[in-house]
Amino acid sequence: MILTTCQLSVSIGGRRVCRDLELSIEAGSRWAILGINGVGKTTLLSTLAGLRAPQDGTVLIDNTPLGDLPPRVRAQRLGLMAQEDSFHISDPEVTALEVALLGRLPHLDWWQAESVRDEALAHTALAAVGLTDIANRRAATLSGGERRRLALAALLAQEVPLCLLDEPTSHLDMHQQIALLDLLSGWDGRTLVMTLHDVNLAVRYCTHVLLLFGDGEWCAGAATEMLSAAVLTRLYRHPVGAASGPHGTLYFPA
């Protein structure tokens, strides 16, 4: 068990995101957090990442409360890929390679310079997301999709067993969405927790889902058991239909 929550209650601006959430996320599993816009998926993800104090309850990583870990130790165990709009680069001169290298930050003491291995890891990460050619381009000149992949490269370079991703597929076209999730699910042994808007991507790539219904109500479990047209109709407050597809059931708005 890599990440567990115990009686976790989270709220934002007076609205409940979840109440008494009990999650057990096993190493190597891939979780999707699903729910309508504004239900608090990002808030919950930040809480799971230890960047936001819960209203009540605890988040444990390897049985240690996240709050007990110094920030740097925490960042050696779990990484967060922020949503597109909070990943903006203020220095227009910084290059893609330098952004990827920042992923090494939790592993470096302040007096240490980046080693040859750190640079190699950054290059490998850029190659893995298909950005080798633009390593020395300014990050600010990249397209939305390239910036997503660059953020992913930084996360890859961070070498953490647990990755939390906030809408990793936003701004990506269909091909890029599949390429990115293929890449993510191919990461050996890493545990993934991501917020997604596309249920069908969750069906195809995730082993488990956490559904947030609003008002603190939630349910969690294996994707195949949890997801059905009826549940999704309630989740999205819109009639959802189902059809069988090549990668499992396909859901569509009716």
Partner: protein
Amino acid sequence: MRPALFLPLLLLTGLACFALTLATGTASFDPSGTWQALLADGGLEREVVLTLRLPRALAAFGCGALLALAGALLQALLRNPLADPFVLGISGGVGTLVLLAMLLGLSGAWLAGAGLLGALASLGVLLLLAWRGGLRPQRLLLAGVILSSAWGAVVTLLLALAPDAPLRGMIFWLMGDLSGVDPGMAAVPLGGALLALLLTWPLARGFDALGQGELSARALGVAVDRLRAVTLLVAAAVTTLAVLAAGSIGFVGLVTPHLLRLAGLRRHRVLLPACVLGGGTLLMVADLAARTVAAPLQLPVGAVTAALGAPVFLWLLARDGK
């Protein structure tokens, strides 16, 4: 060129400019002449170099280093390229109280005491307005800008009310002036700059991470709140020291970090020490120009920094766009 190679290059440039500053003035020597004057047992030349030029060059270098470092720190803290050491109103507080003290006929340590009081008052107001369980950069910047203009209004009032006798001194002090440096204190600004560099260099990678947004930085394990608090305190101390030593010398603090960034130094591990060397050299050269270009007239060094820095900056900017 690898960014790290800039540092020895800047150091050599700084040393060369230092030697040039010692040798140049109303009585100019060639380099060996300066050396001989320093080694001589006595004589006017030794006196000129040791008691006039050396302290002034040292103070100029130190103040330039302080201002450039403060500029780089505040640009990183506020994530705003227009930030300079004067943006938060710390220097305004120092300036106002020093001028008030001058008006009251005080001098020496009293002026420094008054300046320190002004700095602390400003810092207090900033923390009161911008601390919400941690520093909020947007609030800090807004509060600072308003505070600066408030202090500016008081300064204008003081100048309007001041009798003629202290007025000239007050105006020169406001413009930034290195001619009144106490030889015994000449090394203090440089010492302060080196100490501030030692305190902030460990945070350098955190500044780089903060450049990608607060959330990303925190996710990478950067203790953002602590980093911001330390940065504000160091930047405030550094600005206060620079203003107390030489008044409000503009431009060095804003432009030095930008010049170095345009030259390719983006990461703060190199940028911060480069600011100390580059800012110091820039102000030392500007001060050399200030006291020699229109000799025997002495120009305010603040005007010279702008006159020297602006064209270079514009040239670099134009070249960079291509």
